[in-house]
Amino acid sequence: MGPDAIPRQSPLGMRAAVLLSLLAAGGISLGYLGVAISDLTPSSGGMATAWKFLSRAASPAFVSEARFVPADAPPLIMIALDAAWNTLLTGAAAMGLSLVMGLVLGFAASSAWWRNPGVDGGTGLDGVLRRSAAPAICAASRLLIILMRSIHELMWAVLFLAAIGLNNLAAVIAIAIPYAGTLAKIFSELIDEAPRASARSLRGLGASGVQTYCVALLPCALPDLVAYAFYRFECVLRSSAILGFFGFPTLGLYIRQSFNATNYGEVWTFLYALLALVILADTWSGAVRKRVLA
């Protein structure tokens, strides 16, 4: 092979070029938005509020800071625990629902179950229909996933709040839809990237596409699926808390109420409750992930 036959190598690797392009796009966008460093300087009023709020971080409230507290009102700690419990329940219910939807849509959107050349053989009408229907289902599922993901849970919450009112079901569905979309997308990618040798082998023994998916592809992808699902569980807790800003009885509701009343000690109490919830979920998911990935 002569020197002319040696392919030319780009002095800049493809990855470096992509990274530089992204940085350049970021810089140009900031320029168009007219963002300046001086915008970071706070107003004097804003600075005072921020200081008041931050200074209470070390001294959260253990009793209500409200001027008027009804005699039969539960203690602040009980309110915080109850709100944390509601946050956890809403998050868990939404996660359960989104996991089921994510697995079904992830299956339909992954190409692994239908891209098995020569397996669903036959050149007849049946074979042609099978080969064309499967990609159509896959494409429709991917479109649905994009739709579910592209609308944030807060937008879904506004929609369901208007449609079915302020109840727990609205909160659960509002979170479950975008989470199911994200889970389905990641699940389908993880399943498509999972090793296919076992699946091909089972197809060779007469197993159907769905059997192969459940018995070979899913178990191969399972450790990654579980790890990602647990990561999303931490996110769902934060989303569940944030939905409180719309009036759902989760931690966000109390954070907003206390913040509006400038009871910053109470705000920190609820924030610490949320923090504790996330740390607990993180510790638990870490332990489970360790077992699954072992």
Binding site: A197, S201, G204, L205, G206, S208, V215, P219
Partner: protein, 260 residues
């Protein structure tokens, strides 16, 4: 389908885009016969084996299994055919993070519906577990019944693959270089098991091998393939070392091609 499938290839060619993997191959394998395929890498052994359970289709000529041409097998017939032919892949290709019992039970997936397949994998009956245990006993690893498959050694995984194939209650066993990744002692042991069990069960056995000694020792008939063509097809004792060496001798252009 009677016990012991028969295979017949008549002028079979298989073309993959620009590569002719099999070139007008004609051969027949009788029910209960044990046959070895030998030949260098890329000679068409795997392509030929894949025809036997319909994983591949001839692009020329015709192939038949158990008296029926592959082209005449409908989708369901093909599924049924595959479910009764135990196929041990070169890389074994077990599901790594399933238990040994589940991998063995997976051998019967082609014979049951979806709901039944999930129930027997997740909640196998005592009778089924006993059947799996007996098979594992037969291949020498009964104590591994509930072990995770990826925690077994290569040799033990080979036995699981054999048990999975036997769990299919097959009419034939096809093995694609089943001993390519184990040491000579284990290779001998595996080939002994494969041939013994096939003989005991009256199964047709066809396997590809690179080890001529093992092939000659355990398989009464050997088929030599090179560049997709049958170079020899005769009784093992009639094949001398020089014929085997000739089969594997690289020509100058092949050395360049393979980077040797």
């Amino acid at each position: 389908m009677t016990k012991g499938a028969d295979f017949l290839l008549d002028q079979v060619s298989v073309q993959y885009q620009n590569t002719l993997a099999l070139d007008e191959v004609t051969l027949s394998i009788a029910p209960g016969e044990a046959v070895g395929l030998v030949g260098p890498s890329g000679s068409g052994k795997s392509t030929l084996l894949h025809l036997f359970n319909g994983r591949g289709q001839p692009t020329g000529g015709w192939a038949s299994v158990s008296g029926k041409r592959l082209i005449d097998y409908g989708r369901r017939d093909l599924k049924q055919l595959r479910s009764r032919i135990g196929f041990i892949d070169q890389g074994l290709n077990l599901v790594p993070n399933l238990r040994v019992s589940q991998n063995v039970i997976a051998g019967r997936l082609g014979q049951v519906g979806f709901a039944r397949s999930l129930s027997m994998l997740l909640f196998p009956s005592r009778a089924m577990l006993r059947e799996v245990h007996e098979l594992l006993e037969r291949v020498g690893i009964p104590e591994k019944l509930f072990e995770r498959t990826d925690r077994l050694s290569g040799g033990q995984q080979q036995r699981v693959a054999l048990a999975r194939a036997l769990f299919q209650k097959p009419v034939a066993l096809i093995a694609d270089e089943p001993v390519s990744s184990v040491d000579p002692a284990r290779a001998r042991d595996t080939i002994e098991q494969l041939t013994r069990i096939s003989r005991e069960e009256g199964l047709t056995l066809c396997m590809s091998l690179h080890n001529f000694e093992l092939a000659r020792e355990h398989l009464p008939r050997l088929i030599g393939l090179r560049d997709g063509k049958v170079v020899f097809d005769r009784a093992s004792e009639e094949i001398g070392d020089e014929q085997f060496d000739a089969l594997y001798t690289l020509e100058k252009n092949e050395m360049w091609r393979d980077g040797a």
